[in-house]
Amino acid sequence: MSMKKVEMNQVEVDMIPLIDIISLLLMFLIIVGDTAATANSIQMRLPRASEAMTDKELKEKNVRLEGRIIVQVTNKDGVYRAVVNNKSYDLVAQGSNKLLIEYLDEQVQYQIGRGLAQKDASGAVNIPVKLRIPEDAPMADVERVVMTAARVGLVNVQYAAEPTFGGRKH
């Protein structure tokens, strides 16, 4: 027992290369990883669209992204609900959920009040709304989300999709 202890005392483990390797691994994971996005966005299977564009491509085409409102649709126990800023709302026929309409209208009025957005004569607001909807969501529920957005004048809709690698024609 005492011999073993003496032998162990003589072994010097050099921690510096280990720490170097782990530092590199850590840096890689922090840079490549996507922790912030997963915290806010609900995991779902989005539909594929070959014409869909990244935010960078949209900016190049002068598509407005500033002040974008994100509405997500999630399935909880077979019932689809809308989620905006981590708050969940029922999907009501004709898109008439008062709470959701009030919340979206509040966001729109805030941006208009600060001069960040405009409403035209037809009632359309130039704020973009990104809709994250699972590909298997029935249209009966999807139209409720779209109608709710339309009710507050949010007509610039951006449907979230999965990128199709190599399928896009430029």
């Binding site: 005392n9 539909p47 014409e51 869909a52 359309a124 610039n156 809709v157 999709a161």
Partner: protein, 151 residues
């Protein structure tokens, strides 16, 4: 691991710098956290569309725009999406071809999509995608009516 080594060595190094072991342990924990929560960053893409006036958008200017209206109905038959365009039932490829053949400058057109209640969103987004291919930027939905529009 660091603590065990520290104890076995009788605090020979730890006595000099005991904080090093805590630091290494914390470092391992942070690394573990990042390894376990790691997910490759994929840039989500979006398909921009403008909802046309009328239909889903309450607007007074519906009758004023001069755009040509195209109607597409989406349904499902034997587990596959079916599209009705200009009274013809086609699949997605057929719809793409028909749109490409009949639409010249997309800016002059406006598409209204109707659908059955249980049609999955993916089938309708495929229509929006086909419209984007022929540069039609205004795609709206015709809301369900009657028995299909459940309360």
């Amino acid at each position: 691991m660091a603590h065990k080594k520290h104890e076995e060595e009788g605090g020979a190094h730890g006595g000099d710098r005991p904080w090093v072991y805590c630091m290494i342990d914390a470092f391992f924990l942070i690394t573990q956290f990042f390894v376990l929560t790691f997910k490759v960053k994929v840039d989500e893409v979006v398909l921009p569309q403008r909802l046309p006036p009328g239909g889903t958008v309450p607007s007074k200017s519906n009758s004023l725009d001069n755009k040509k209206k195209l109607s597409i109905h989406v349904s499902r038959a034997s587990g596959a999406a079916q599209y009705e365009f200009m009274t013809k039932q086609v699949n997605l490829q057929g719809l793409n071809d028909m749109l490409a053949g009949s639409v010249g400058g997309g800016q002059e057109y406006q598409v209204r999509v109707s659908y059955d209640a249980e049609v999955p969103f993916g089938d309708v987004l495929a229509v929006f995608n086909a419209c984007s291919k022929v540069k039609i930027a205004e795609c709206g939905l015709i809301p369900l009516r009657g028995a299909q529009a459940r309360p």
